[in-house]
Structures are given as C-alpha cells and as structure tokens.
C-alpha cells in the first residue's frame, strides 16, 4: 500500500521535471547575450562563415520550439548535450562535479542538525534562561547574515589569521588520493589514507559550517517552539505521572512529537541547501556543481546550465520525497 503511494509520488514528479526543463530552457534564451558571440570573444576576428557553422553545430539556427524539442527528447534518453565551452558531454561534467556538491551539502546538513538539536531542545527546556536568550539571539543573527559574508569572515579569521583551516578547495594539492567514488572523505577512508582524510575533512569545515549555519538557525527556532508546545501537552504530564525521568520525558515523549513539524522545515531547507551552495562554492572555490553553474551562466553555456539545473531539480524532488516518507513514518495520523 505504502509502496504504491510512493510510486504515485514519483510519477507525479515527472511532469514537474518537464516543467522545470522548459522553464530553464526559456529563461536561458531570454537572458541577453549570445553564446557564440561570447565564445568567439568581442574581437570579431572570426569570419561570418565560421560563426554560422558553429550555430548550426549547436542547433542554434533552428527555431526555438525545435531546439526545445531536441533538448527534451535527448534529455529523456539521458543525453544532456555537449558543453559549448568545454566540448565535453554535460553528463560527464556533472558526474565529475556532483560528488563534491553532495559531500558539501551533507556536511552542511550534519552541521545544521548537530548545532540546532541541542540548542533547540535545551532552549525550550530552560525557556527564558541565559542559554535560551543567547542562542535565540545567535539564531537571529544566523538567519539574517548573508552566507557569502559569513564565509568571508570565517576565511579571514580561521584561515588567513589563525591558519587553522585551509582557505579554499577540497583537499591539499600534495595529498595522494587515488580516484574512486569522487567523495574524498569516503575515498580516503576506503584506501586507508589518513593524510587525505584529515585534509579533506579540514577543507569541509568552513564551507560546511557556512552553508549549514543559516539552516541551523532556522531549525533551532522551529525545534524550540515545537518543543515548548509539546512540553506543555497533557501527554508530557502523563509521562511524568508514570514516574518517567525528566530526560525520558524530554527526549522521548516531547521530542518525538516536536520532530513532526521540524522534519517539514528540514524538507523546505533542502532548497536553501542547493541554492546556497552556488554562493558558498564560489566563495570557497569549491569544485562542485554550484560553481560550475555560475560560470556556465556567465558563458551562456546553455546545455551545461540546463543539465545542471535538471540535476538540482531531481535532487530537490528526491529530498522532498524522502522527507514526506519520514513525515508519515513520524506522524501516525497521516497516511502518505
């Protein structure tokens, strides 16, 4: 029964993916700037014949609807075309960059959870305490501070001044890490390479924290307010009247209920995680999908932008599907 419902959700997301594809396609073509002009440079040393040849090679001479049709039919077959600039299949470029982005996003999520859960729970248990006031002020700052700004400050303090952590990149240049899954932490664990593991973990700290901080702030506030509500509920009084120790009352009876609204918010934050990563990857020169997309947009590399955005969209839909499944698991009153 549940499997059927999940399949239903997957099927519903297919038209959404088509919608995303069409919108991205149109937006790229509506933005001013012609890819071939940008590719050739503004010098104008190239002959008109060569330009025409390039245009027809990229199908840019065909009418818009034909271009769209070609893009969609190829995409369904798993072919996202060739990058105009790098002359490589888009799928290869994405496959190369995606692990870096996923590694960063998961680190950020981990940071967000590790920071927000203790703070959110304790602020509710000790409402109006010094800890509560202090951390809610911190959360307010975390929400209002732009990611790039926080990233630059952290680089200045922890990398440039204190030399505790690296300024940019995923791993030290001299780290000898054999190619593998592309997830550097996993690869160095699998090959037992201690130096590479430490190096890649160190590189993850600042960008991961920067990307996770805003989400941590939002989650801490949501968790605090839901915990305040569940801690006031009748079933918490019941738990106490059974002789439950207070940690069991808080962590089992109250938290388990407070997770229900919190998980919904985590789902919404996946979008922030994906969008934020373009900025953070640029600030920290993180060789991931986000930085590649930013570059591709400036170069009007239509296939690369389209392909990457499709990957973002799929990730977003998948993440929300997981959150929905988690939500029904947490809330027995809801069937998927």
């Amino acid at each position: 029964m549940k499997a059927i419902k999940i399949l239903e959700r997957v099927l519903v997301s297919i038209p959404i993916m088509f919608g995303v594809a069409i919108i991205v396609f149109l937006f790229m073509r509506l933005t001013p700037g012609d890819p071939v002009d940008i590719m050739m440079g503004r010098g104008g040393a190239v002959s008109a014949g060569e330009i025409e040849k390039l245009r027809s090679e990229f199908n840019l001479d065909k009418p818009l609807h034909v271009q769209l049709w070609l893009f969609l039919t190829d995409a369904v077959k798993g072919d996202l075309g060739y990058s105009y600039v790098q002359k490589t299949p888009v799928t290869d470029l994405i496959r190369e960059r995606l692990p870096a982005t996923i590694e960063l996003a998961l680190t950020a999520l981990l940071f967000a959870l590790i920071i927000s859960f203790p703070i959110g729970i304790l602020s509710a248990v000790w409402q109006n305490s010094l800890l509560d006031r202090f951390s809610m002020a911190g959360a307010f700052m975390g929400i209002s501070m732009p990611g790039f700004w926080m990233g630059i400050i952290l680089i200045l303090v922890f990398a440039v001044k204190l030399h505790w952590l690296p300024v940019q990149g995923r791993i030290d240049f001299d780290a000898q890490l054999a190619a593998g899954t592309g997830f550097f932490v996993l690869d160095s664990l699998l090959s037992g390479n201690r130096a590479a593991l430490i190096s890649s973990l160190k590189h993850l700290v600042l960008p991961g924290f920067t990307l996770g901080a805003g989400i941590a702030a939002i989650l801490a506030r949501v968790l605090r307010s839901s915990m305040l509500e569940t801690l006031r509920s009748d079933y918490v009084v019941l738990a106490r009247s059974k002789g439950s120790p207070e940690w069991n009352v808080v962590l089992k009876h109250a938290l388990r209920n407070a997770l229900i609204p919190t998980v919904t918010v985590i789902g919404l934050q996946v979008g922030v995680l994906l969008g934020g990563n373009m900025i953070i990857e640029t600030v920290f020169s993180w060789p991931g999908l986000g930085r590649m997309v930013v570059a591709a947009i400036f170069q009007r590399d239509f296939p690369l932008v389209q392909g990457s955005v499709m990957v973002y969209a799929i990730t977003f839909v998948l993440a929300n599907l997981i959150v929905d499944i988690l939500y029904t698991y947490l809330n027995p009153k809801i069937a998927l």
């Binding site: 079933y235 019941l238 009247s241 002789g243 009876h253 027995p332 009153k333």
Partner: protein
C-alpha cells in the same frame, strides 16, 4: 473499608502560583484523609483548586507554582521530603493518575500497548535478571503479557489486536480505559482521578465509573475522584470534600454531606442538581460567579453568593469547625463566634512559613 488504616494524610497543604497580577493562592490549608481502599470525592466548581490538590500529591505542580506549606503523608512518609528520584519511584507505581481529556493525554505517536508497557519497564515490575536492549525479548514478552491482561481487565475488546494501534484509532471511552489500564498496571495503592468522565458521553461516563468501582473493590486501590458534579461523587465515594476558592468548606462521610449538608455552598450544589424522579422539581442554580482567587474578600469567599450571609461573615477569615466525628464545616450560619480581630488569612499563611 474493612481495615481502616490511613494511606494518605494531608495536613495544612497550600499551593501558590506567582503571576503578574500577584500570588494566586490556588489551595489554602487543605487537609484530607484517605484510608486503604477508600474513595474520596473532591467536589467544587471549576477553578477551585481540585486539580492542584492532585498535582501537589504527585509533586507535579507546574512551575512557577510551589507548595508553600503542609505535609503529605503517604504510608507515613512525607512525600514533600522525598528526593526527586524517590518521588519518581512513587509516581506510577504507588500513586497513579488519570486525567480529564483522554484524547490529548495519550501520546499520539506511540502504540497504546507500548505506552502501558513503559510503566512496567520504568518500575522494573518484571522480576529477574535483565539483559539490555535489544536482548530483552524475554522480558518484553512477559511485560506484554501483563499489559494484555490489564487491557482485558479494563474491558478493551480483543487487546491482542489493540496493543499495536495508535491512540487516534481508539474511541474516547476506549482511550480512557487504556489510560486506566496504564495507571493500574503497576498495581498502585492510590489512584488520583481528575474529572475522568467529564469529556465523555453520558453512557460512557457510567461505564468508566463502574470500572473504577470494580477496580477499587477487586484490588483495594484507594481512589481520589475529582469532579465538579456532587451527584457523581455522591454515588461513587465514601467521603466527600467540598472545596470553594481553594479552601475546604465542608468535609464528611458521604451520607452526612449529601443527606444533611451544612454549608450553604453544598446546599446550593445539591439544589442545582436535577433529580430525575422529580420531573417538576425546580433546578436552582447558585447565583453569582466563581470568585477570582487572586482577589478574595477578607471574610468568607462565598459571602457574595450566600443566602444566609450575616455581618460577621464579612469581617475576617472563617475557621473550620468540627461538627461531628469526621465532619467539618467552614460556616458561621449555625454558630456564634468570637472573632480575634488580628486573625487573617495572611496570618495563617505566615504561620506556615515558619
């Protein structure tokens, strides 16, 4: 009942909730006696402090409220002097509670059976050596057996199927039965029932009261039944305590209090209860409103609504008079009383701080 040993003795119990407008003296100088297997009714209008009495007994007064004075002797131990760990061993095992709204009282995200089993686990009811989770299968099976037995006893049909269902899949009456099973699974000697039937349909109310009566008789579990309905208390209890604005106004054996009420408030409560056998009888509600406990008059709190009020009632606090072996009444209507002009409620409270 047969053996009239005291189980619970409360003396001079007062609870205060500090608030922005001042101190709410939720209950003042409460005294109660419950014998083993006894059934005490705590009656009064909403806000008179009935729930506060129960919460004080199980030491669950919500912050910033606190017990300012008094003693709660349970099996000769003063509960107010126990450490929080010792008190946790009393809660659920020796003293259990059931609540007004079963729908919000069961935790919505856990199976009903598991919630009952948690009580057994918390108090280590199944004897023997125990392996830690996840090797506790044998213990779990024995606990589950006990839970099913309790569910059967409170009249939940096909408990096997009901064990692993969620609270929202139960009707209100079934939820309350499950909560009673939860309260009784560790075989406590005292059950605190806070308006257990108020949220239920009339027909279900009678079933739940009968169930509680059966448990009282089969297990000798003493019960304090809180209700705003003097009629329910009259049918169920052997002793009745009537409260008004946080204070006891009348206390005594059920027959004395219901057949021959002495306090005008108790008389009013009886008069406003319809009696089915007398169709044409007039129901007379007590005129006026429940007073605000934050701002009580210096004299009798019931004076603004009392048909027998006299000048002495307004001058200062009314002491409680013992009018029979176990009969108490806080009223000046039938007595002549020489007042000490310095004697005030504040005086009494100050005395208990010492």
């Amino acid at each position: 009942m047969e053996n009239k040993q005291p189980l619970l003795e409360i003396r001079d119990l007062s609870v205060v909730y500090p608030s922005k407008r001042g101190e709410v003296r939720a209950i003042d100088s409460i005294f109660l006696n419950v014998e083993k297997g006894g059934r005490l009714g705590l009656v009064g209008e909403s806000g008179c402090g009935k729930s506060t009495v129960l919460h004080a007994i199980s030491r669950l007064i919500s912050r910033p409220g606190k017990v300012t004075c008094g003693e709660i002797l349970f099996k000769r131990k003063n509960l107010l002097k126990l450490s929080s760990r010792e008190m946790r061993n009393v809660r659920g095992k020796e003293i259990s509670m059931i609540f007004q709204d079963p729908q919000t009282t069961l935790n919505p995200v856990f199976h009903v059976g598991e919630q009952i089993r948690e009580s057994l686990r918390l108090h280590n009811i199944i004897p023997g050596t125990h392996l830690p989770w996840p090797f506790d299968i044998a213990r779990k099976r024995q606990e589950k057996e006990r839970v099913l037995q309790a569910m059967r006893e409170v009249g939940i049909p096909s408990p096997m199927d009901r064990y692993a269902t969620y609270p929202h899949q139960f009707s209100g009456g079934m939820q309350q039965r499950a909560l009673i099973a939860l309260a009784l699974v560790c075989e406590p000697s005292l059950l605190l029932a806070d308006e257990p039937t108020t949220a239920l349909d009339v027909t279900i109310q009678a079933q739940i009261l009968n169930l509680m009566l059966k448990i009282n008789q089969d297990h000798h579990t003493a019960i304090i039944l809180v209700t705003h309905d003097l009629g329910v208390a009259a049918e169920f209890c052997d002793t009745i305590t009537v409260m008004y604005a946080g204070r006891i106004v009348e206390q005594g054996p059920v027959d004395d209090v219901t057949m021959n009420p002495q306090h005008p408030y108790t008389q009013g409560l009886l008069a406003c209860r319809p009696v089915i056998s007398k169709i044409d009888q007039k129901v007379q509600p007590i005129p006026g409103n429940v007073p605000d406990v934050i701002d009580l008059p210096p004299g009798c709190a019931f004076a603004p609504r009392c048909p027998q009020v006299k000048p002495a009632c307004l001058e200062g606090p009314i002491p409680i008079f013992q009018t029979g072996e176990k009969l108490f009444n806080r009223c000046l209507a039938q007595v002549s009383y020489e007042r000490d002009p310095l004697w005030s409620w504040e005086h009494i409270v100050r005395q208990c701080d010492e």
